[in-house]
């Protein structure tokens, strides 16, 4: 085989590379030392990714008749596409262009210039050797199913669903609670406008429930995902409601007649009650109630059936079991949201032990006119109005003992709480904060408004909330709470007497976030939030093609950001649907039937069921539609009958030789060391 004509392009990346790697030396070295490997031209340029840099490559391809291009610059995850397109523009098959990283892997992680320059040379040699073994490839084209799965029916999911459905494409929303709406449905007011959350949310819920293109799967969970971008197969479990949805009118008589009342730890955050058969809140969508057998007298004792007796349309069915439905979708949006931080984890704040310490979700429900107290702000006894309220910021946020990150919404929710307490009671309100973070539109103005309303602000992290009095001047505070905090602006320790303490709890991933991420094949950071494809430029895409994420499943965020995320994801998904097909990297395994001995070693290795065995021909076959290109079967084949395009045996062996070419099989480097020792 003749050595293909190769061009090498070394990027300065401004000074990102050039400050550590001697790019001119690397360029000259590549031109001379790699000439026998086909390098006919080597250039450097300040920004290879610029249009002028790309033109440089395109002109050389035409002028020198380059058959291979190696660009030494940033990570292929950054600009591989850019340079492949440049090559393609000049008529070179895009896959004959290799981007090797001398920024992320060399200049940004090493400081010794000589060593970094040597490593850059080796990395380029690896690329030149490897690309010489590359064959031209064409991207695989796959059709995109126009249906979309949205997991999670909170505001992010609902927004995306309405956008996609309104464009005319089918959407399936899978929600594990009885109703869509998510956390937003639980809130009373929304900052900074003080819009009533239900007033702005429920019309959207109704739209989603009534939209002909949206199918709601509430009280349901995704249990299995297979396939890949454009063609996912989803298995959804419908948990039994014990209510026949087709017949139910949502009249609510069954709920009224149910004799069992249990604490509602779900929608009412543990401060209200629900029945054993219930709809979580009056505006729930869909309207059908849900019966929980663990609370139901009939399931425990075999008698009662009050709901069944009184149901005017006979739609109670105690025999229902799990039902499974299969969906085919082209794209998936994960909008699974968050769970509030469990305040019990910070014992010093006394939540769960001191009755009048509340969490933010409890306060949301309490201040909601439709909530358990009818909007009255009262202590745990249900009647006493507080005279003094302390709001504690950063509970479960900005704390290395719990979560290091800022939960983004707590400052604003705390300011909102201060306003609501002032509005509903005559209480003095204190906010204990570390830093006041109000970067959104109208947020700082809201902060000023709360300052003007007379709320006291104490800058300091609360050390303890206690009901034990410690100093003589605290006489008279028996039965109240004392909040100990260092006022870092005044430089004094304070003990603030309070009747009610509200812990502004942070946002955490859902408890099963990692399992969900695993099922959909997307990455999670160590704290459990889904990782974006790119934090800035692809904030709602994930590493897995065709799977997107929006809202608090990506990290703590407020309603406006969640809505923007949902809309952004919808736009991205719609663009893919509109294109009708998607180009995929042609990295696939193929079997050379001539060489296959039919040993079947590879047959059990594929988790995507892409490998089948042809019993007649006694050879293995690989379905390119199912193959994901991992290459495990390629590595396992004892007859070298399976090859993997893009990552072939020859390419990788060549890259190994290239990366180690400065060692001459070990001897050269040791000789060099010996020279160094004598110098």
């Amino acid at each position: 085989m003749t050595t293909p004509k190769t061009g090498v392009y070394v990027c300065h990346c401004g000074t990102n590379i050039a400050a550590v790697v001697d790019v001119e030396e690397v360029r000259d070295w590549a031109a001379s030392e790699l000439a026998d490997k086909g390098v006919v031209v080597a250039r450097d340029y300040p920004f290879m990714c610029s249009s002028l840099g790309q033109e440089l490559i395109e002109n050389d391809i035409k002028e020198y008749g380059l058959e291979r291009v190696v660009v030494a610059a940033c990570s292929p995850h950054m600009h591989e596409k850019t340079f492949r397109e440049a090559s393609s523009n000049a008529g070179l098959n895009p896959y004959l262009t290799e981007l090797v990283s001398i920024r992320e892997q060399v200049s940004w992680v090493h400081t010794d210039k000589a060593k970094a320059t040597d490593k850059a040379k080796a990395v380029i040699a690896g690329g030149v050797y490897r690309v010489s073994e590359q064959e031209p490839l064409e991207p695989l084209i796959a059709p995109v199913n126009s249906a979309t799965l949205i997991v999670g029916g909170g505001i992010a999911g609902i927004t995306a669903a309405l956008e996609i459905a309104s464009a005319g494409y089918p959407v399936h929303i899978v929600e594990r609670e009885p109703s869509i709406g998510g956390h937003m449905a639980q809130y009373d007011k929304t900052f900074p406008t003080l819009d009533c959350a239900a007033c702005i949310l429920t019309p959207k819920m109704v739209d989603a429930g009534a939209h002909p293109n949206i199918t709601l799967h509430t009280w349901s969970e995704v249990v299995d995902v297979s396939g890949s971008v454009g063609d996912f197969k989803i298995k959804v479990k419908h948990k039994p409601r014990y209510v026949v949805e087709e017949d139910c009118t949502g009249c609510g008589i069954c709920v009224d007649k149910c004799p069992v009342q249990v604490i509602d730890t779900g929608f009412e955050s543990g401060i209200g009650y629900r029945k054993a058969i219930y709809t979580p809140f009056p505006q729930a969508v869909p309207k059908y109630p849900v019966l929980t057998p663990e609370n139901c007298t009939y399931f425990a004792k075999g008698t009662c059936k009050a709901c069944e007796k009184f149901c005017p349309v006979d739609c109670i069915d105690f025999t229902q079991t799990d039902e499974y439905v299969e969906l085919n979708v082209g794209n998936i949006l994960l909008a699974t949201g968050f769970q509030p931080f469990d305040a019990r984890r910070i014992e010093a704040y006394g939540y769960g032990r001191l009755p009048n310490v509340f969490t933010s979700m409890e306060f949301e429900r309490m201040s909601n006119a439709a909530g358990p107290t009818g909007g009255k702000i009262v202590l745990r006894d249900g009647v006493t109005e507080p005279k003094s309220v302390v709001i504690v910021h950063c509970v479960g946020s900005r704390d290395k003992n719990t979560n290091e990150y800022c939960s983004a919404i707590c400052c604003m929710q705390s300011l909102k709480f201060a306003h609501l307490v002032k509005e509903h009671t005559d209480a003095d309100v204190y906010e204990c904060y570390i830093d006041m973070r109000t970067p959104g539109k109208g947020y700082d103005e809201f902060y000023n408004r709360i300052l003007d309303e007379g709320t006291q602000f104490i800058r300091g992290r609360v050390a303890e909330v206690t009901d034990s009095l410690r100093y003589p001047e605290e006489a008279g505070c028996e039965g109240r709470l004392m909040v100990q905090v260092e006022d870092t602006l005044a430089g004094v320790k304070r003990r603030v007497p309070a009747d009610m303490v509200i812990l502004s709890t942070g946002l955490e991933p859902q408890p099963d976030a990692t399992e969900v991420a695993r099922m959909f094949g997307v990455g999670c950071s160590s704290n459990g939030f889904i990782i974006e494809r790119h934090a800035k430029l692809a904030p709602v895409a994930t590493m897995t093609d065709g799977v997107f994420a929006a809202g608090a499943t990506l990290g703590p965020r407020d309603i406006p950001t969640s809505v923007s995320n949902g809309a952004a994801a919808a736009a991205t998904i719609l663009s893919r649907i509109a294109q009708g097909e998607i180009a995929m990297e042609p990295y696939r395994a193929t079997v050379d039937a001539e060489r296959c001995s039919g040993c079947r070693i590879c047959n059990d290795l594929c988790p995507f069921s892409a490998i089948t065995f042809d019993e007649d021909a006694m050879v293995t076959e690989i379905n390119p539609k199912l193959c994901q290109g991992c290459g495990v079967c390629v590595a396992a084949c004892p007859a070298n009958a399976i090859s993997g395009s893009g990552f072939s045996h020859l390419q990788i062996m060549a890259q190994i030789d290239g990366l180690l070419s400065d060692t001459s099989g070990g001897a050269g480097r040791h000789a060099e060391e010996a020279v160094g020792a004598t110098a």
Partner: protein, 174 residues
């Protein structure tokens, strides 16, 4: 974190007086560990220059031959990195690299190469710091082992049949 600069006495190479700088081949998968390396770079986390990386799509793509070729051509150690098994982009394929790793360490011992010269670790796309820390740890360990004797390398390179037979992990009774 910077490279450990300690040079244990045992690491004194043939060329006396010159600290032994090992050359290490690192294999990454496309989805997790390569991105961890990218993140280490983006965050400007420093690690020793001794490691040179090769990107595979999956750590399960690792052929035993790649490792033996690496040793034959001058690598002082080889690192296999990939996704945490539960996070594998290809579901469970990173686990399949483990079988080969166990087998290969045994084969290397038979060839006179210390098993510790074949290393492996997992790193998620978010674990740039871990990637750098592991690289520093492994470079320090390999420095302590010292260079591979040239005759071992020559023997390895001269016996392609050893390389070929070792690329058939199915023959191993684990």
């Amino acid at each position: 974190m910077t490279a450990p600069v300690t040079t244990p006495a045992a690491a004194a190479p043939a060329a006396a007086g010159q600290p032994f700088e090992p050359l290490i081949l690192g294999f990454t998968c496309n989805w997790c560990s390569y991105r961890a390396a990218d993140l280490a770079g983006t965050a400007r986390t420093k690690y020793p220059h001794n490691v040179r990386l090769i990107r595979l799509m999956c750590s399960g793509r690792m052929e035993p031959e790649f490792i033996l070729e690496g040793f034959a051509k001058g690598a002082d150690a080889v690192i296999m990195t990939g996704c945490w098994p539960e996070d594998c982009h290809y579901r469970i394929q990173s686990v399949k690299a483990l079988r080969r790793f166990i087998f290969l360490r045994r084969t290397l011992a038979d060839l006179g190469i210390e098993p510790a010269r074949l290393q492996r670790f997992y790193a998620s796309a978010a674990e740039g710091q871990r990637f750098a820390d592991e690289m520093a740890r492994i470079v320090a360990e390999v420095k302590a082992l010292g260079p591979i004797p040239p005759e071992t390398r020559v023997a390895l390179a001269a016996h392609p049949d050893v390389v070929a037979s070792a690329s058939q992990p199915q023959e191993v009774e684990v």
